[in-house]
Structure formats: C-alpha cells, structure tokens
Symmetry: D3
Subunit: 155 residues, 6 copies
C-alpha cells in the first residue's frame, strides 16, 4: 500500500513507529555502486562506459534515490549532449550559462570541468561569463522598458 497525502492512518502509524523505523525516513544519502540495485548499476555502468570513467559523479549517486529519474535523466543527457547539430563543447558552455544564471554551484563546477576537458580555454570561459552577464542585464532592461518585439523578428 502506497503512502499518500491525506492517508492519515498510515501517517499516524509512522508517527508512532519505533526510532529504528523512523530513521529510514529522512534526507537522502548518495548510493554507492556496491549498495545499488541491479537497475541502478545498469545506469552507472552505462555512464562509466560512455564517459570512460571509473566512477560516476555525486550527482548520479544522489539521483539514484529515484531510479526512474536516474534512468530518464541519463538517457536524455546521453542522447543530447554528445555529437549532434551542435558540438559537445558548445553544449557544455550553454549548460554552464544556464547554471550561472540559476546560481547552481555544483552545476557550474561539473559542467565547467566538462567544458575544459572538451577544450575550453580560460579565454573562452571568460567570454562565456561576459555574455551571461550581459544577457542577464539586457533581459532586465527589456523588461523595464517593456520593449515591443520588432516586426523584423516576427515571422
């Protein structure tokens, strides 16, 4: 039987549960390969093989708490972030640009490292930061002045 909001009896049971049981209900811990289910291990193995690394990053170990999302996020990133219409370095730079805008420290660190591993130089990263700063400024100037879209930009 599943736990749902409003399912008051089950929640009362939990509230009354011994400490040993309640301790299983809490903040998430990363799941290491040796403690992972076969379902999770299959994703971890695919990440390691695809990227040629010995272990997956912390992001995947935490996301493994929700195996459905682990599989979907990995499948999406695998499909999109490799060679395609845009080259992989450009896509890492875009990832960093979004992460700066949202102030996600982990994502700046991990995708910044990926960008550098794919050839991004200091000069490239500095220009990236400049563009992100400028875009965040002009986005708000546009909001403030309520600038209407030029006819030339419509189709």
């Amino acid at each position: 039987m599943e736990l749902r909001p409003g399912n008051l009896k089950l929640r009362a049971l939990i509230a009354a549960a011994p400490e040993a049981i309640k301790e299983t209900i809490g903040p998430m811990e990363p799941i290491e390969y040796e403690n992972a289910s076969d379902e999770i291990r299959a994703v971890f193995d695919d990440i390691k093989a695809t990227r040629g690394v010995d272990d997956v990053n912390n992001f995947w170990k935490y996301l493994a708490n929700e195996p459905r999302m682990l599989a979907h996020v990995w499948q999406s990133l695998k499909a999109i972030m490799g060679e395609g219409a845009l080259d992989p370095l450009t896509k890492e730079l875009i990832y960093v640009a979004v992460s700066i805008t949202n102030n996600c420290e982990y994502c700046m660190a991990s995708h910044g490292a990926a960008a550098r591993a794919k050839g991004a130089t200091e000069a490239m990263m500095n220009e990236l930061y400049a563009v992100v700063g400028l875009a965040n400024m002009t986005n708000r100037l546009v909001n403030a002045y309520g600038v209407p879209v030029d006819e030339a930009f419509k189709r």
Copy 2:
C-alpha cells in the same frame, strides 16, 4: 537642482504642477533618430555601421532614454559579441539560453534572429532548447538533493 527621494518640497511642486508639465513625467517612449540628441545619434550611427543595418532595433531606441547606459551597453556588446575566443554564433546561442531561462520574449526573438543570421539551423536551435531544458531540470535536482561538489571538480 536634482530630484531625490526625500526631497519633499520638489515633489509637492510636481504634484501641484499643471497637466502639461505632469505629462512629461511618465512611461518611456522609444527615441527615433530624428528626435535624438547628438550623443545618442553617435551611438545609433555606430550600431548601424557596425551591423550594416538601416535602423537600430527597438531595444536601442528605448534604452536611449538613458544615454549613459545606451553608450555603455553598446560598447560592451560591441567588444564582447564579435569575433573572439568564442565565435559570434556560439555567443548568440549562449545569449538565447540565458533569455529562455529568464523568460525574456524580446531577447529570445532578437538574439534568436541574430543566431539564425549567423548560421544557426533549426537542428541547432532545437538542440539548444533541449540543453537549456535539461540544465534547468538538473540545476533543481542538484538543489533538492544538496549534492556536494566532487573532489575532482575542485582545484
């Protein structure tokens, strides 16, 4: 004498001013070339010459209400968005990525048009959108799980 918050007398004067005067205090209108000061025209001329266009976009006409920002924003964009460590197309794509994240419709339209003018294809734009969507998702998954930065990403 300058108007400052707290300068109550001047504000009282304004409140009591005839309609003809009050009407000069209101929302901003775009400034067209024929009505622009020499200072503004110099920037408009530089934008038109640099981009090889007959007229500047709405963004610049509204921003001309604050001539200091008009000059600074243009100088910054001119310095950063041309050829450099990153090529101009990549920088337009980054601009679009930030504008999507911030939901700035004008900026998506203008920098999307600029990206296409510099060679972005539908396939490239679709991949860009995909990366921006994925980054916004994983940024929040990282927040939610409180994922600590891997040692390998620190230097």
Copy 3:
C-alpha cells in the same frame, strides 16, 4: 467535509458531477465590491480610505478569492509601504526593481504608477532601470567567478 488530495471518493463524486456543478470549479474571476462578502468589503473599504481612491485595483479584486490572504497582504503593505525608516517613494522604487528582476508586468505597471504618483521623474526611473540591469549582470559575474566575500564585508 473538506476536499483533500488523496480523498479519492470525493474526487470521484466531482468527476461524475453534472456540468452545472463542475462549472463552479474553475479559474478565478475578480470579485467586485457589489458581490463581495462583508469580510472582503471591510478590506476594500480600508484600501480605498487609506489611498483616497474610488475603487481598488485589479490585484485586490482577484486576491479577494482568498479572503485570508487579502487581509494579510493588505495589512502587511499598509504597515510597511507608508512613512517609515525609508520614505514611500524609495519603497516603491525597490518594489519596481524586484518586479523587473522577476518580469512581473502587472507589478511594474502598478508600482511604477505609484512611484510616479509619489514624485518619481523620468530621470529617476531611467536610473532605477540602469541599476537593476547592472545588478543583474554583476550578480551573475559573481556567480561565474565564484567570488569569495571580502573580509572587510564580514562582521
């Protein structure tokens, strides 16, 4: 009996309800004074008296769908936005700055009008927009470079 998520029987009842009943479950309409409860009218009356206006703005008519929030939001704004440690015009400018950052068109329009009514000139609004643009830019440059807080700023 209250409707709660998980309360599956009640929801089944609703799903099977005749159209006439289902139509009462939908998007919100503004509540005009003549259709308002005494509780809502009391808040509307206080807004009108405090501001010296004939009718309340659309914001209050929509928020009246949740009378508890109507009362709390009004009480908070009444307590904070009048004379205080900061003068009312400064507080309207701050309100506009946040609304530009969040791209809330209604809030820019309503608090922009309030700022002008309290004495904000075009020159002041243009400077406000400039500061908001610059702050949104440097906020992201700080994120990108991971700038540590200077010792001098800590106490």
Copy 4:
C-alpha cells in the same frame, strides 16, 4: 555532414543559399499528426491512449521538432506523474507551484487544467496560490537575513 559553430564554410554556403532554402531555417512551427514522422506519431499515440484524449496539446506539437526530447520528456512525465508515492493531484499542484514561481503562463494554464480535472477545487487552488506567494516571500527574507540552518534541521 553536420553543421557546427565554427564550421565557417557551411555557414557561408547557407548565407549564400537561395531564399527557398533559407526559409527552411527559422522559428519552429507545431507539428500536426498528419505531418509527423512515424517516430513522432508513436509518441503522440501513446500520449493520446494514456490520457484518453483525441489530440495532444500544443506543447507536444512544438516539442516534436526535437523528437529525442519529445520521447524523453513524455517517458519521464508518464513515469512520474501518474499514481505513485504522491497522488497525481498533488503532483499537478506542485507543477503549478513551480510554474507560478517561474511565471510560465502556458504551464500554469495546462497544469492548472490538469489539477482541476483531477479534483482541485477553487478553494484548493486559492490555498496553493497563497502558499506559493508566502514561500517566495520567506525565501527572500531568509536570503536577506542570511539565516543559518538550525541544528535540528541537520542530520
């Protein structure tokens, strides 16, 4: 051969292409079932069967421009948004809460409609809006005061 930023020759070719070709490079149009590839139709068919509807919403028709994302987003939503640890109505309410915070009008409309179809009443929606407003306020009060996490919240 794929188009990539920096691939200057291909871009020069595009710039010089006849109008008929250039017109294929532009903003996205929705893809209707009758014009869709088999790959896209398979996803559309699954959405229609799962939800018991005659046609898919605009979101899916636009996303079909990137068939890989169409498939991945649908698979993720199908896996997560149905019955689970949380009931489907609660998940629609959470979806609306995020969409309000990000000011995504389409998403508020579509997931608001989904929530109401699953039993959300006006009273529930009003409480949802109230919670989202309060959370956005206290999130910033926490930022402003730099409130440290209580020991009791750490494990």
Copy 5:
C-alpha cells in the same frame, strides 16, 4: 526624526559618529527570547504554543529585527499552513517545491523537516524532487518554443 535617503545632514552626523554608535548600525543578529520586547515575545509565545515546541527556529529570531513583518508573516503562515482545503503535508511539499526552484537552502531544510514530521516518506520526497525538476525543464521548453495556450485551457 526619521532617517530618509536624501536626508543628508543626518547621514553626515552618522558618518561622524563615534565607533560606539556606528557599531549599532550593521548586519542583523538573531533576537533571543530573553532579549526580546513584549511585542516580539507575544509572537514567539504563539509560535511555540501553536507548534508545541520549546523554542522558535532561527528564521523567526532574525525576522524579529522587523517586528511588523514578524507578526504579519506569522499570522499569514498560521492562517494558511494548517488544516484547510489542502492538507498540511501537501502545503509543506509545495513550500519545498518553491524553495528548490529558488535555491533557498534554509527553506528546503526547514520545510523538508516539516514535511517529514507530517508524514512525508523518502519515496514522496524523491517524487517531489522529480516533479520540480521536470516542471523547471518544461517551463523553459515552453518559453523556447513560444507555445501558445491551447483553446481548451482557456475559459
């Protein structure tokens, strides 16, 4: 006499004030019960009684620096977050969803703890995180493609 921007004489006085006085002008400290005014103690007492706790969380101790907001925020949360059209657990989950989207670490910790205290299991929290991630992704895909609202979602 109140301090206002533009009130240059008072500010000059402050700038020239001895260190002992200037030190009273600085970043905020939490206000503990024993140092609190009667007005603040009344709110703290009500929080403790309503929640059945021995002390209030850090949030309230910092917010007590602005007693008007302390009272208003508490009154609003007390009115909205208890039993109502939505059950208290659902409302805590919504609070966490907004806080993840805004990257408010304190708020994720405090409302995450509140959610668990009201019965949220690990499986529920994982689904919550998944929905928040997906919503942040599709919000931006909608922005990018400029998806128009379906007729069926309008009323």
Copy 6:
C-alpha cells in the same frame, strides 16, 4: 590562431598537451595589483581613487581575468552609481534588493556594506528586506491569478 568550438584539431592538441600546459587552462584566480597588466592597473587605480580605498574588492580582482568587462563594468557603475537623479544610498538599496531576489550572497554583503557606509541604518535595512519579501510574494500572486493590468496604469 584563436580557439573556437568546432576547431577540433586544436582541441586534440590541448588534450594531448603535457600537464604543465594543461594546468594553465582552468578555473580563474583573482589578479592582484602586482601581477596585473597596465590596462588592468589603470582600472584598479581609478577605482581606488574614486572610492578613496587602498585596494579593490575581490569582485574586481576576479573580473580582471576579462579586462574588457573589467573596464566596461567599472565605467558603467562609475557613471550610474554616484550622484544623479537618485541619490547614491537609494541606488545601493536597489542593488541590495535585486541581489536578495537573485540570492547573490557576495552582492548582498558588498552592496549592503556600501549602503551602510552611505548612511543606511538597521531600521532602513529591515524595511528594505520587508519590501523585497512582499514584492516577491505579490509578484507570484499576480502570476497565479493572471491579473490584467488596470486601465489606469496604461498610457
């Protein structure tokens, strides 16, 4: 020859480079005066002279990695943040308001210190925080209810 995405040969060279070379490609370090180019020193000198300080803040030392942005950001801030239509204290308060909304800890600390140096008292900062909190709340209530702009706010 410049490094550009898509320039695969150069990237292959980097990937194969000895460690000593690769180490020059990495996260940014602050640039101190004694290691700065003449171009950077000129900006640092102007900041120090304008503000009457012995050294520039960390923000400028990091931004010096991109000397073009260092110059442009400083010129913009110098032009806008001094005396003008709004007084300098009001502009610092607006800067803090945006930084709280975006959760930029460094910017809250640096512009909060600047505000206090220009005369902001605890009472002013507390009111500022209150307004920022309220604006973030009502921005989302407006989104949620889809409040249309009143005729009176249009011109």
